[in-house]
Amino acid sequence: MTPPKHIRTPLARVRGFGAAKSGTGHFWLQRVTAIANIPLTIVAVIIMIMLLGRNQPAVAQILGSSTVAIIMLLFIVSIMAHMRIGMQVVIEDYVHDETAKLGLLIANNFFVAIVGLTAVYGILKLSFGL
């Protein structure tokens, strides 16, 4: 058996990502969520305008109704996935200090998880009438 000429594993060579560590996954997800965001944003804005000036029980009932709740959940999940990648790109582009960059990338994930799940929880709560 001849010794290998380099220490890269066959798996790493097949994946072909090199120092980038990942491929076009983020690029693609950003576009898929962008396409999803267009109709979802339009419908969400219409829902928000229709809820203007209504009292709290009416808002709670409409926001919690099945169709509106599902649309809002799709809207929340899609924008959260989209903005997580967007903010990550902004951080990677402008923050060059490695420690600060790592901290901000983690904070980005925490922000999206907390705000996203809080919004999802709010919709589910209205929908299930808890």
Partner: protein, 140 residues
């Protein structure tokens, strides 16, 4: 940008970096690219407002607090800015999706696209607020 050292530390070689913003003459397409990022960042933090609105709807006291904030002049200003950022970022996203297909890169086409993006976002924002305030009853 020579002072923009990488994380390699002070002993890293002073390699030339690619030219950045301050090298180029400002152009509309470039400015709109920056605005797309800024509106994206604004929308990012604006989701706090969305989460607050949704969760406030669970009870009358919470919803009254939200309505008091969003009905105040600062609340309305934030909501107006948020509306514009949302519409502008959405139209800018459509522009980028068109560009992703390889179309619209001609000198006139790209200028037209960014101009339509800007004019469209302002027009739609104003229209939405007219509809919201006059026909639906406003945030009160």
């Amino acid at each position: 940008m020579a002072e923009a050292r990488s994380f390699e530390g002070p002993r890293a070689a002073e390699r030339p970096l690619s030219p950045h913003l301050q090298i180029y003459r400002p152009m509309l397409t470039m400015m709109m690219s920056i605005v797309h990022r800024i509106t994206g960042i604004g929308l990012y933090f604006g989701t706090l407002l969305l989460a607050w609105w949704i969760n406030s709807a669970a009870g009358p006291n919470g919803y009254a607090k939200f309505e008091a904030f969003i009905g105040s002049w600062i609340g309305r200003l934030i909501l107006f800015g948020y509306t514009w950022a949302l519409i502008h970022h959405m139209l800018g996203g459509i522009r980028h999706l068109i560009w992703d297909t390889g179309r619209g890169f001609g000198p006139n086409e790209r200028e037209w696209l960014v101009a339509a993006n800007l004019v469209g976002s302002i027009a739609i924002t104003v229209l939405l607020w007219i509809v919201g305030l006059l026909f639906v009853g406003g945030p009160q």
